[in-house]
Symmetry: C2
Subunit: 697 residues, 2 copies
């Protein structure tokens, strides 16, 4: 249903342009001239707006699929009603003066949204530049200079970014299939565009600019399947503190936390870039080249220096300069007798002929060890660039092996650059940019082969947990510490060190006997938040006498330090033996993306190195395993001397249970299990802090 409507937006049979056509620079005139100038074959109906339209004007709207409305905001509602009456399916509102100006504009936009819902109108904008579809030669937008036809689709809420990106693509001969300027995203948003483009046969690469997205969770969900078919490359703005501040003052929209946002997009397989250059570097490559079958890259260059810089640029990527397999070295020696080639960085020298460039590239691509190739060309005396690029373009491609060219220099080599790009060979101004393209292709190829994540569902007593949380909220108890959360842990079958409160030393001894293992004593006082501040713990108590003595020592020591504190007694807690590793699991509910789960080691190391791994719930089995692998400090922990192999499966279970618990109960606003103790025998939640938030009905 919705897809049909987006179809009307991009492939209408007839289009009306509604506006005021009196002045030369009128927006409606610009749209009309763009539509007419670009060769659109359907009927085009200009409607010069007046409160009382001529009957024949109204009649001319019959059979119109799409209308572009360029009116001042106060006339928009009226125009929409008329268009809906005449059976128009899709409407583009270019006009500004809605939500983005606040106040009156906000309510006007709400009215537009309600009208669109009531009259079943597909609505783009308001405050947007329109759309174009290259297939139908339809430019229903305010942008006059568009790139050539190709296979890249693009969308952006920001009009200025639409302009900037299309302008760039036009000057570099990057080909596009469709674009949409989303404006205020009153109805059509990023997620619906993505859904539509997924099935668009003309589009094989989807790029977009993201800023203050409202529906990140839906966007990420949709992406998860699309990214396995087509690469989705998103330029994300506002991913840093400075950017966040800027974005909130710019669009007035509340964004989710940037970490949640990035995590969602990463989990969905979206290729995330944070600046324009990288977006362009990737678009060049993805738009024209096949995905590589592996990381082996060969470099052919006429400049030793540029070749070394290219090799340097591979540091920190997954790309590899392989040794040649077979007789490639011999073939190159024959082709270039003056240049002995020992590796897959092939220096053909400044004096190489154009044919030698192509022949060297071909020999290299034929090598079975080589999976992609970069040609790096420095200009210079006797380097006949026009002839070289012609030879390179004429060379037969080797299937499944991407190729890119780097012409060092910017504007000096512009003609050749455009020629290459038009001929399907991506062209870069410096080796590093080309390498970032290859690296992204390689990672995307790996992503495509990954199996879909399997979500797991654990046994739990949900009713019991629900009762417990209801009781807490009913008692206005929104902060839970340690001991207090035990019923919840039990409902989810999480292990924790058995703990009981002893008010006297005698009951402490009794409890320790019942626990039948070495115990720790922890001071219990409502007035003491951090036990470590008051030296409030005694550990490794084996005998009854030790427990009794420990209780006396602990309570009197603490009371001396904090004479004002009421001391309830001590918690008697089972000691987890076997040198446990201590990790920390946190979950925080992001307003847009739901529970964001963070895994790290306990203590200050995690903070200093900022080493955390993050995932949004629900976690898959693979996610849980990957969260551990991602942490370098965790491998340190595992390796610690005198420690048996940790029961990582048990730790995975805790992670997966946190995922399930936070999804089961949106009341859980934050959750912190710290420390979780992991030994070779299992994992125990030894510290708990939770905050609850009553749900608003």
């Amino acid at each position: 249903m919705r897809d049909d409507y987006l179809h009307a937006l991009f492939s209408p049979k007839a289009i009306a342009v509604v506006g005021i056509f009196d002045s030369a620079g009128a927006l409606a005139r610009v749209v009309l001239s763009n539509l007419e100038g670009w060769g659109y074959q359907g009927r085009i109906v200009p409607v010069n707006w007046a409160t009382q339209l001529e009957p024949q004007t109204v009649d001319s709207l019959t059979g119109i699929d799409l209308a572009v409305v360029c009116l001042s905001p106060e006339h928009v509602l009226e125009a929409l009603e008329l268009l809906a009456d005449k059976g128009v399916k899709a409407v583009i509102i270019t006009s500004a003066g809605f939500r983005e100006i606040g106040g009156q504009g906000y309510y006007l936009e709400e009215a537009v949204i309600q009208l669109a819902a009531r009259r079943n109108l597909t609505l783009l904008g308001p405050n947007c530049l329109g759309v174009a579809s290259w297939e139908g030669r339809m430019n229903a937008s305010l942008i006059s200079r568009l790139p050539t036809q190709g296979n890249i689709a693009f969308f952006s809420p920001s009009g200025s970014m639409c302009n900037a990106i299309l302008d760039w693509a036009a000057s570099e001969a990057i080909g596009f299939s469709k674009f949409a300027s989303l404006g205020n995203r009153a109805v059509i948003d990023e997620a619906s565009m993505l859904q539509f483009l997924a099935d668009d046969a003309q589009t094989s690469v989807i790029i977009g600019y993201l800023e203050g997205m409202n529906n990140g969770r839906r966007f990420a969900r949709i992406s998860q399947t699309i990214t396995r078919e087509k690469p989705v490359i998103m330029l994300q703005a506002g991913m840093t503190e400075h950017g966040q501040k800027a974005i909130s003052s710019h669009v007035g929209a509340l964004t989710g936390s940037e970490r949640a946002y990035q995590t969602a997009l990463k989990q969905a397989g979206i290729i995330q870039v944070d600046n324009l250059s990288t977006l362009f570097d990737l678009a060049r490559m993805f738009g024209t080249q096949p995905l590589p079958n592996g990381p082996n890259l060969a470099i052919v260059t006429n400049s030793g220096g540029a070749g070394i810089l290219a090799a340097d640029g591979m540091a920190g990527t997954s790309l590899i300069l392989p040794r040649f397999g077979g007789d490639t070295a011999a073939r190159l020696a024959e082709l270039l007798p003056r240049h002995a080639q020992s590796s897959s960085l092939v220096d053909i020298g400044m004096e190489a002929t154009p044919v030698q460039y192509a022949k060297a590239l071909e020999a290299v691509l034929r090598d079975r060890q080589v999976q992609m190739a970069l040609v790096v060309i420095a200009p210079g005396l006797g380097v006949d660039l026009p002839a070289i690029v012609r030879e390179l373009v004429a060379m037969p491609r080797v299937e499944g092996k991407p190729v890119a060219v780097c012409l060092i220099g910017q504007e000096g080599v512009m003609e050749e650059k455009r020629f290459l790009q038009r001929s399907g060979l991506p062209c870069y101004a410096n080796p590093k940019a080309a390498l970032s393209g290859f690296e992204a292709m390689l990672r995307y190829a790996q992503w495509k082969t990954k199996s879909y994540p399997v979500e797991v569902c654990y046994r739990r007593d949900k009713a019991k947990a629900e009762r417990f949380l209801e009781d807490c909220l009913a008692a206005s108890k929104t902060e839970l510490f340690g001991f207090e959360a035990q019923p919840l842990l039990m409902a989810y079958e999480l292990s924790f060190p058995r703990t009981e409160l002893a008010r006297t030393s005698r009951s402490a001894v009794k409890i320790a006997k019942r626990l039948a293992c070495p115990v720790a004593l922890k001071i219990a006082s409502p007035h003491i938040e951090y036990k470590s501040d008051v030296d409030g713990v005694e550990v490794n108590l084996h005998t009854s006498e030790e427990v009794r003595q420990g209780f006396m020592n602990l309570t009197s020591r603490v009371q001396r330090q904090r004479s004002e504190a009421f001391i309830s007694g001590c918690l008697v807690q089972e000691m987890i033996l076997g040198k446990p590793a201590e990790v920390c699991i946190r979950a925080q509910r992001d307003p847009k993306f739901g529970p964001l789960i963070r895994f790290s080691v306990s203590g200050s190391q995690a903070d200093i190195f900022q080493e955390y791994s993050m995932r949004l719930a629900p976690l898959s089995l693979e996610d849980a395993a990957a969260m551990m692998r991602e942490l370098k400090v965790f491998s340190l922990l595992k390796r610690e001397r005198g420690r048996d192999a940790l029961d990582l499966r048990a730790l995975e279970d805790v992670l997966l249970t946190v995922s399930q618990m936070t999804l089961d109960f949106p009341e859980i606003y934050t959750l912190e299990f710290d420390p979780v103790l992991v030994t070779s025998r299992g994992a125990w939640v030894a510290g708990v802090r939770m905050s609850l938030l009553p749900l608003l009905e």
Copy 2:
């Protein structure tokens, strides 16, 4: 003396071009036409080479300062003799076929070097493209297309990189003062160029391409003073493993370790970049803008989206978006009534007039909180770029506040880009590139204010140390472990836990009594390398009985495990009390840069996070302090619970002593102090490994 000669190279009164002028494409013809075409005012003498030159040809060489020799290698020596006879001071050899081809070429180059020394010739090349000096309109090179005049000097050993960089600069209107293509660097090398350019009045920014430099140490030493006067920006190739491999096969030169190299350049205040784009980004800015007085950057943009991306790009830099001071916000509100500005990211909207761009920028620059400004412009409907850039250029500059412009897009905005750059406003295609320019300017400004490092000289008994090392080498003892190195540590007044060898339990008790403190026992056996493998340590022994028992336990336990090992007894070692922090200091002699000193924490943490700080000897006091500050893990160590404030001054002393020791004795090839124990009372070298290398005479 040498400077005079470089003077002849760049400002000759008369120039000879020596070569074969028969064919149209002859190199000598290219040089001649470049010289004549560029407006050089001195005398130019073409010499068509023949074994028997006409007497009048020989006469014409009288008064020549500089000769450009474009002959095949076998004629070069003969030509040089003749030129020297005629009093020529400087010679450029463009010819290839010397060291770079190996074999015969290598010996030919050696002969050229000897001739140059004997005849006092300043020699550039061979295998180079020549030089140009804009001041004298002298283009004595093979490069026909040169940039406009400016204040940037450039050198490179690689001809292709010369070509690439000059070509780029020409197309972007970046101005140059001098360039030199160094070729094989037989006589004039990077260091001598740097020295010359330091005093060149036409040059205020020095940029270079570095690859396989032979004299890194001298280069770094010279830079240390120059960088306080002029920024020195170096594009370094071969700084990674891939690059290293490529470089050694390319130039056949042995490079120092990349870490030593980078450390040297960093300590010398050189601005290091690893790719062409960044080099260009920095050159644009440094060539035209004053250094900023602080990190506060304001952004003026017509595109909210691009503004956010720019703000995002500031993450990870030292740049700050400040709040305005004074009435700037009010002034902007007056100028742009539709755009409320709450921060120093000023969105003036797509509809802003050209004058508003300039006025907004001026208002922002006048703000006392703002120390630099970036204007980010996205193209679009109604955005009159040519008029905007004219207004921006016409705006009066504010002293001491650098400004840059970012015109989003590449070739589409080329004309405006060139116009801005020519008018002294650096122009970028994306915000991130501009920010990297500002960041580099800020760091350089900070470097300039740093005081010169003070080297310290510690009291030591050098004669004693010398005797000890001589004895070791005489006995072919090139590996020293722990205990064995004590005489050396004593000569340098380093503290270490007092240690003595006890062959029996009785002598162990005696020694422990003498040490009068808790001791540790460590197994002593020539057959056991790692004591931890055999549980070969007993610690915290207080009483004589504990020492006796410990000795018996230790020796019998180890003997059981290693029945084949000869056990000499136990080392009785003073225990360092007070929960010492354990750090690791290493020094390794780099073949080119001398001792490279590395500081890290002990154990596997350093390896996992690759957290080391490096400096080349000699260390200054500031270096030693900075080496500790740079490590995040070290701050972790300092903060550890129950630890008193560490005596960092004592640790600095150990670092400085290592610096001095390795400089005093080149025989010390590697040195490892691990662990060095640091407490609140001092620092002790508790573990030592050293390897010695006899010096070759």
